[in-house]
Symmetry: C2
Subunit: 688 residues, 2 copies
């Protein structure tokens, strides 16, 4: 009976996707120039996705074959492939619509803010609801396929449940692999193109942002889609799936009784409620978006949070026996324990998002002070920007540490995993808001490139500015939820591998694991930085070549169009090649350490990577966000405005911040989750 809920919720989400797709496609796409630009962006995004999927596909086949030949078996391999396919499918649908919603948003802006917001939100919601809908259906499908015992009342050994949970972990690993390419590859793509477009356009050729003469501009706009729509979607999809799977795996070890699997199914039920709550939140946003788009977006987020809290309360009350249950280590927990744990997760998600907003929005002191500091020199901007990012870690960590202690106190390590499920239950809404950002950004770019009326551009610029704040908030949310999901996976790994509990903290293998694990996010980040710089330099050479060899391009002569495709092509190649080293590292490091040094060292490696990864993730995301918005704040006319010393300094800061916040920061989420899920998958091999 419980089984029907995730299927229904997933079905509803996909039905909503179909409705939204038609509503978006029905809208007019605008004049010829807008259509042309939108098509170029779409073609570029499609070209990237195609090559990305081929690359992932090849790796997927090899890994799946490898798995089949170990004792993990073909079931885990199939589950693994399905996880990647689900994530890829969500990304494909989301991108197809996001790249069609951009020009339509510009066109709708001619009739006002509300219609434009509505189109952009619909476009974002396609991504958001595809992610949650496809994840729920895919996950339930895999469960039905490989763990049917879960759904049939009757006596089943916990051992069987644990083994079946092991097969399902493959699904999470597939989603994780896809997310690695989508997020890190997309991040390299988007920032290589962005840096190049800025440096060669604004600085060298002295033409404004999003100018149609700049051959790198289309690649920059493609990048927004592949990085922030497909990348973020795949990232949250992974956390979403992993938080559910980790809590199910932990629950498998502590089933209420031999015949009752409510604890194991609880995460699926909360997630199902979250899907419905997200759909209602999206409706709220579209309905109340007339005056203040920002309030409408955050209003929708709060509405879905409140709804899912209420729903979770009733679900827990009806699923968990009134006398409570016995959890890990024989500790007894109250009936409402799981509710409080998910509530803690939901609240800490909101709080972490608020701290991100505080440190990265120009409404508050840190960004204002950063803009002020830019009056001295670019070096001061960067130094102060790094300082803002570093101090912005304090509150999120305090919130996460409290959540871990509280949810464990109230419900054991299962509670920590449930907190992650709670936090991620409204992913449908969160991804909608986040994907809205790049659509609005693209809409602004199209308005600029196609020379729309200033009134239209004011509206798209306003929607874009709102998107910048939501992007920073979304990043805080993504890293917070990734950390909780990774902690859940870590605990599941420790439980699965067995025999590494009751250890000494001064065990040298553990200490060495901490050190090596702590180092990996830095190494990973450095390779991503370099890939971005490499990609940017290649594009800069190409743009310079075009300005040199295409007469009339720089002057904007009628009929002379830049060759945008070549820049998209360079970005794509650089992104996929740039993935090679960090991707291999993420795949190989846990396997190597696990088999050569042992499961305890691997546990240390995971902890070390979660600790430094979480810090680096929040630091880079907020540092970059603050430097970005300090530049925008100065451009609004503060401290001398455009063209002032402060503005020049802030441009350097923004350019440094770009790969920090859009390549390195978000990719680290994936790194720590991917290594944790690989460890969980290979756990059975490590113990045998």
């Amino acid at each position: 009976m419980f089984l029907s809920w995730p299927l229904i919720a997933g079905g509803v989400a996909l039905a909503a996707v179909v409705v939204l797709v038609f509503r978006v496609l029905r809208k007019p796409e605008g004049d010829e120039e807008m259509v042309r630009i939108s098509r170029s962006i779409r073609a570029g995004a499609g070209a990237f996705l195609r090559r990305e999927y081929i690359t992932v596909g090849i790796i997927l086949v090899f890994l799946a074959l490898g798995m089949s030949f170990t004792s993990l078996g073909w079931r885990t391999a199939v589950s693994f492939v399905l996880g990647a396919v689900v994530s890829g499918a969500a990304g494909l649908v989301g991108m197809m619509i996001a790249t069609r919603a951009n020009a339509r948003t510009t066109e709708a802006a001619k009739s006002g803010t509300k219609p434009a917001l509505s189109v952009a939100v619909s476009g974002g919601a396609v991504m958001g609801l595809s992610v949650v809908g496809l994840s729920l259906l895919g996950l339930t499908g895999v469960l039905l396929l490989f763990a049917p015992e879960l759904f049939v009342p009757g006596e089943v050994s916990n051992d069987l449940l644990v083994r079946e949970a092991g097969i399902i972990n493959g699904f999470a690993m597939g989603a994780s692999l896809m997310a690695l390419f989508a997020r890190a590859g997309g991040g390299i793509f988007t920032k290589g193109a962005d840096m190049a477009a800025d440096l060669v356009g604004k600085v060298e050729a002295n033409i404004p942002e999003d100018d149609p003469r700049n051959p790198a501009v289309i690649a920059d706009n493609v990048g927004d889609n592949v990085g922030d729509v497909a990348g973020l979607g795949a990232d949250l999809l992974e956390s979403y799936v992993e938080s559910i799977i980790a809590s199910m795996a932990l629950a498998a070890g502590l089933a209420l009784s031999a015949t009752d699997r409510s604890l194991m199914l609880l995460p699926l039920l909360i997630a199902s409620a979250g899907v419905i709550a997200s759909i209602l939140g999206i409706g709220f946003t579209k309905f109340f978006g007339r005056k203040n788009p920002r309030l409408a977006l955050s209003g929708g987020t709060y509405v879905s949070a409140v709804l899912v809290i209420a729903a979770t309360f009733f679900i827990v009350r009806s699923v968990i026996p009134a006398e409570g249950f016995v959890g890990e280590g024989g500790r007894s927990f109250t009936q409402l324990g799981p509710f409080w744990a998910s509530l803690a997760g939901i609240l800490s998600g909101v709080l972490i998002a608020l701290t991100s907003e505080y440190y990265t929005s120009s409404d508050f002191r840190p960004v204002k002070k950063l803009a002020e500091a830019s009056q001295t020199n670019a070096a001061v901007t960067v130094t102060e920007g790094l300082a803002v990012g570093m101090v912005s870690i304090v509150l999120p960590i305090m919130i996460l540490a409290s959540t871990v202690i509280f949810s464990n106190h109230i419900c054991g390590m299962f509670g920590v995993a449930l907190a992650a499920v709670g936090m991620l239950s409204t992913s449908g809404m969160v991804i909608t808001v986040d994907s809205y950002g790049p659509i609005a950004d693209n809409a602004g770019g199209i308005a600029q490139m196609s020379n729309q009326d200033p009134k239209v551009r004011r509206i798209t610029d306003h929607l874009d500015a709102v998107g910048n704040t939501t992007a920073a908030i979304g990043k805080g949310f993504a890293i917070g939820s990734a950390a909780l999901a990774a902690l859940g996976l870590l605990t599941a790994y420790i439980a699965a591998v067995g025999g590494i509990d009751d250890i000494s903290l001064s065990d040298p293998k553990l200490l060495a694991g901490f050190l090596v694990g702590g180092m990996l996010p830095f190494f990973f980040s450095s390779t991503l930085f370099r890939a971005v710089v490499y990609s940017a330099n290649r594009i800069i050479f190409e743009v310079r070549r075009q300005f040199r060899e295409l007469p009339g391009l720089r002057e904007g002569l009628e009929g002379v169009v830049p060759d945008s495709e070549s820049c998209v092509d360079i970005s794509t190649r650089a992104a996929l090649w740039g993935m090679l080293v960090p991707g291999l590292m993420a795949l190989i490091a846990p396997v190597l350490i696990g088999f050569l040094v042992g499961p305890l060292a691997l546990a240390g490696l995971l902890i070390g990577s979660i600790v430094t990864g979480l810090m680096l993730g929040v630091f880079t995301a907020n540092s970059g966000g603050a430097m970005d918005n300090a530049k925008k704040y100065i451009e609004e006319g503060h401290f001398g405005g455009k063209g002032s010393i402060a503005h020049k300094a802030s441009i350097v800061g923004d350019t440094v911040g770009d790969p920090l916040k859009d390549t390195v920061g978000p990719s680290i989420n994936i790194l720590i989750k991917l290594m944790a899920v690989i460890s969980l998958v290979i756990a059975p091999l490590l113990t045998s």
Copy 2:
């Protein structure tokens, strides 16, 4: 009998200090202008030290009184005060001579490279040998005072030894508190003044570096002394003392037999041998410094390393019974186990230093590529510079992780602590080389300010350039040894607090401890960054004021001298005020977590802070070093040389790198050690 060795070695070191002091002071100080400048620097350094010591003194008294009233008792309090006094005394002597050796080095450069090198090395050796001499004498004195049982053959309970070891920990904590102020305070002082001098001098007023017209130049030169002489000395003194104490504390738990304390005294013997080896190494450097100062300095380092390795072999052979001994957990170790462990430490110190050299010297690829990347834009320089710093972590961590595993395998956790003792045994030599750097730097500044012959300036510039490389190497060594010392302290803490072994890695308090501990180095760094920016801005305003209000200053009119004292004063205040938040954080965090959340959470906090602190330390030190030397490489004429686009970009990179490498990086060493030693000191209170 063993007791006499550290006393003899300490006495020899101090005798060598006296000889070197007279040899330095005997040299002529040069013309009137040189004397005036050197006096200004000396006066500024003295003013800073005075206020720093008063501040530390007040905190010291309060903390010592606090300790006396707890069950830690007055003995620990006295030991604590003595530790701080020894560190302060070493800093005072070292600074007094370093600030007298600078002009004398310039004067000696008139007769050639070798005499100049000899004066600078003698000046540095005063600091180096004061540190090791005073530490050994102070530590042995405290042992005699509070742990006389150690030295008298006869039956003593291990409990008593452990309790006495607890009292001695106070000595390390005193040294650590002093080091915090010397290193972090000195770091804020030096980089605030440096950034201001660069920004207002080179960028705004367009006058060259070290120009006597710039009022901030004296403060910049003072900063080199307080940051790199006194700061580095106090940092290594702390690691030196802590590695000895941690290994003695670990050995106390595993005395060979009730009457044999050889294991406990072994660290003191190795350290004593290291002092003699360092003196011989210094002699080698002074003797062979004719042609190539860099080879002479590294030659001396290798000579002392080889000597101490040989000595350790014989010491271990004569002290440890041929049949080996039984260590922690009843594991038996061979006679030579302790030798191999110290050898691993010495070798890993050398290897880590070599990786620092590779990533920060312009002789190798990373800095060359960084200089090349500067041709695009300052943002690219900074991004690539951060990437170099991040990737430079990989090898040191691998080396440290292998050292931990190997030395533990060969000799238990005692072996890990012994590796730290081995690495630090040649501290006398290492500090000499490091303190040589700022003396040579000052000598160059004085040559520039007093308009010496270009031939003289070429010599001082060359000596300065050598000092820049040794500084980067010294930082790598300092952070590597700090990490090993902190791991030793951590193990001693876990042993001392008891009852937190056999724990679960997924314990929520432990996980929360990891997270909070991992966050602290970032928070600490951000406050230091801000203190530097604040200090720099204040000095910039002051310099602008002087250029405005002192007619003829900017033009270099005869008889118009800038008011350098005011800049020194601003730097001093900013440094000591800037210490408030990070200092309090370092002191309070472990106490708070230990008492409120418990000893297990505190262990997690220490591990988290060591992991992220180590990464951040290496990253910031090498990032800053690489950006510094990329600028110098461009200034040598590559990629357009001085005044080119690449040069301007590299100046921004260098300015961002300055606080990274000279304020944040080195201070993090102290943070992780201070928190570990505080935890060790309060361990008895946590268990009662």
